[in-house]
């Protein structure tokens, strides 16, 4: 590593830390209904939304209606994206006459975009028309991220309100998140991306004759507008197959820095918003610090692994699946960010990372996507871990566990355990299934333990709603499209429903005032406990599987063994 590499990392972290309170306090104003500077710009649009759809913004609902609205809205999105893929050949804006998508691929893709996963079993430039990418996928990029924020807001209200059934209004949460946060940031970001060379037009492609006389078809399309939201909304689904490694999707080191920041920007800032909304900035800061510590630890291990030498390639820098303009440091920084944040976009091929760097990405996903995590999803996932930590700490000292003055009782702990188990069950059971079936094994691109890593990564990515892949795996098969599709559904709604149930139950409770006997959840001791609980749960669940994949892969590489 050079000094310049360290400078880039430090600067990345500094900008992230500096932006957190700025965006965080703006989002607080938006969600709290205070005056903010976007109100004169888009306020009329919010009113228009309610007027044209018949939503009463004043009406608040209990957790069951909130959940029902959320599920109905998501279901409609799923059905729509599913249908337009099945009939894309008959629909407009399909200049190169791409054929209709197979039903299982269409199922997988529509689940994937609805659940904020953006797992892509298909190749963008050769499968989906402009129409599907815009009207189908870009819309889901916005609303799936807004859905994540809505769940978080309901949970925060559950924690901060007392003796009520009301958790807020799903439609206003969805609308405000989209209009005041995602949309303005995306417009600004998309235009900056075009200034760096990302394409934004409505052509299908440009055919050129290369200098050497060959024909080259360069795909075009409204890429910048989709890339902006796929980064900001922790979606991750690229316009082109190579995602943000594609030079027209991520042309310069500056576009790369901004795209990386966009991955973590909103999830990090939401910790600040959280602190303000629950009435204690320290609570938000505690969560931010726990996330940051886990992030920096993963990053350090990953960088160390990628810059290490091995007997197979000696001291050659490991440039397989990496771009010259970005180099190794930026590829690793991205891989750690995208896996922490449930984003899933890539600027280097994770399949070709050194085994330990690949494992860090996998662990970040397996821990439950709570290191910053998905927009909204990361923070509500973290609160689940906080509930478990408070519960365990309560057991240790023999005191009724409390969080933010609310008693944590059997119901909350049961729901929290379901939310933690749901994705983990998907990872373990589906990976095992794929490893012993022909349908699972015939899709592998690599032999030996690395082949198993491809499977394990795929189901982790689906269950964690991440979307990145060890992309050698040919996932566009009936078996993978269906199992990964169901994995994504369980990983998303198996967490969202318990979280909303907790929110509903917590809202009913009284708030006990802080006393000398209160177990503090805003100090370094708690940060340590929280990190320990996260690592123990994640570690105990997944270490055996990791040992069979990346760990053996690492040991073999150090003995120079290939397959």
């Amino acid at each position: 590593m050079k000094i310049q590499d360290i400078v880039q990392i430090v600067m990345f972290l500094c900008i992230l830390i500096a932006m957190t309170p700025v965006l965080g306090s703006y989002m607080y104003k938006v969600f709290n209904g205070n005056r903010h500077f976007m109100l004169p710009v888009f306020g009329w649009l919010e009113k228009l939304t309610y007027k044209s759809t018949g939503v009463n913004p004043e009406e608040e609902t209990n957790w069951k209606s909130y959940t029902f609205s959320l599920l109905t809205f998501n279901l409609i999105g799923f059905v729509f994206v599913f249908l337009i893929q099945l009939f894309q050949a008959q629909l407009p804006l399909n200049p190169v006459n791409l054929p209709n998508v197979s039903w299982h691929s269409a199922f997988n893709t529509s689940v994937s975009f609805m659940t904020n996963t953006n797992w892509q079993g298909y190749a963008g430039e050769t499968t989906l028309s402009c129409f599907v990418q815009m009207i189908g996928l870009t819309v889901q990029n916005f609303v799936s991220a807004a859905t994540g924020i809505a769940v978080l807001l309901a949970l925060i209200r559950g924690l901060s309100r007392k003796t009520t059934e009301k958790l807020g209004n799903f439609w206003t949460d969805l609308t405000r998140s989209t209009l005041y946060i995602l949309l303005p940031l995306s417009i600004l970001f998309a235009i900056i991306l075009v200034s760096q060379g990302v394409v934004q037009n409505f052509k299908s492609s440009e055919t050129v004759q290369t200098l050497q006389g060959a024909k080259q078809v360069i795909p075009m399309g409204p890429a910048a507008s989709q890339i902006a939201i796929k980064q900001l909304g922790t979606n991750g689904g690229g316009y082109f197959n190579a995602n943000s490694a594609h030079p027209l999707e991520n042309p310069t080191p500056l576009s790369n820095l901004l795209e990386m920041l966009a991955i973590l920007l909103i999830p990090a800032a939401l910790t600040f918003t959280y602190g303000k909304m629950v009435g204690s900035n320290r609570q938000g800061r505690t969560i931010f610090l726990a996330m940051l510590l886990l992030f920096i630890t993963g990053l350090s291990v990953s960088l160390f692994a990628e810059y290490s030498t091995n007997p197979i390639f000696g001291n050659l820098p490991l440039m397989e699946g990496k771009e010259t303009r970005l180099g190794i440091t930026n590829s690793i920084l991205w891989s750690v960010s995208t896996s922490s944040a449930s984003n899933g976009s890539v600027n280097a091929m994770h399949d070709s990372l050194s085994p330990i760097a690949g494992m860090i990405a996998m662990i970040n996903i397996m821990l439950g996507e709570i290191i910053f995590g998905g927009v909204g999803a990361g923070l509500y996932g973290m609160v689940i871990f906080i509930i478990i930590t408070v519960f365990i700490a309560g057991l240790m000292v023999g005191r009724t566990p409390e969080y933010l003055g609310k008693k944590i009782e059997a119901f909350e702990v049961q729901m929290a355990i379901i939310a933690v188990l749901a994705p983990n069950v998907v990872i373990q059971i589906f990976s095992a299934l794929a490893s012993i079936s022909n349908a699972g094994l015939s899709s592998l691109n690599n032999a030996g333990p690395h082949g198993f890593s491809e499977i394990l990564y795929a189901y982790s990515s689906a269950a964690g709603n991440n979307g990145s892949a060890f992309a050698g795996l040919n996932a566009n098969t009936l078996f993978y499209n269906l199992t990964l599709g169901f994995g994504m559904l369980i990983g998303r709604f198996g967490v969202i429903i318990p979280v909303l149930a907790i929110a509903g139950n917590m809202a009913k409770k009284k708030i006990t005032p802080l006393s000398a006997g209160t177990f503090r959840t805003d100090n370094w001791l708690f940060i340590g406990l929280l990190i320990a609980v996260i690592l123990i749960i994640g570690g105990l669940t997944h270490f055996p599987a990791l040992a069979l994949g990346p760990v053996i892969d690492h040991l073999l590489i150090n003995r120079g063994i290939t397959f």
Partner: protein, 197 residues
């Protein structure tokens, strides 16, 4: 039932707003403010576009600087890398072969350290860049193919250095040379270029 109707209406509203108006608005602004970049940064040469500044091309002839290995042979439909793991025997063999080929093609000493980006395939398969060192290692061979004299060869070395892009703002990303632009420079330096074809 009321929820379902509201869901449909809200979905329709956001589909129009974020699926149609948003991309159209961004396209409008982009086409007015950055027309060349929004359309792929195409390079015009001899009155036709010969490629995009950002999309690498395959170069096999001795008269050109060569690009990085590509898992898709620089055919962008679709883009992608090899996705070989480091313990994949195919990758190990490819790296050995590419090293032998690069050394033989450029008539280099067999002990030359070939920069790693010339041995490993890129992530997109369309990487337009190589390192300055990789470009300089090719200068002798290219100069010979163009029958350059010593002065012209020195000029070629100078233009490699001139066309080397430093890290952005001097610290972001890596130093690099755009192979297509470097090869276009050869046309300026060699008036009889077309005769070599």
């Amino acid at each position: 039932m009321k929820t379902i109707i509201i869901s449909l209406k809200v979905f329709l509203f956001f589909t129009i707003l974020t699926g149609i108006i948003y991309p159209l608005f961004v396209t409008g602004v982009a086409q007015v403010v950055f027309p060349a970049k929004a359309n792929g940064s195409l390079i015009e040469f001899d009155d036709r576009s010969i490629g995009s500044k950002f999309i690498g091309q395959q170069f096999d002839s001795t008269i050109f600087f060569t690009s990085r290995p590509s898992a898709i042979s620089y055919n962008p439909l679709p883009s992608g890398g090899s996705n070989y793991g480091l313990t994949n025997a195919k990758l190990k063999n490819l790296v050995t072969e590419r090293k032998i080929r690069f050394i033989a093609f450029n008539r280099l000493d067999s002990l030359t350290d070939v920069p790693s980006e010339m041995l490993f395939a890129s992530a997109s398969g369309l990487d337009p860049h190589i390192s300055q060192k990789s470009a300089l290692l090719q200068v002798d061979r290219v100069a010979k193919a163009h029958k350059f004299n010593t002065i012209q060869k020195q000029e070629l070395i100078q233009s490699v250095k001139k066309l080397t892009e430093p890290p952005q703002f001097s610290f972001l990303g890596e130093e690099r040379v755009n192979v297509l632009i470097m090869n276009l420079e050869l046309y300026k330096m060699d008036q009889n270029f077309t005769n070599h074809k």
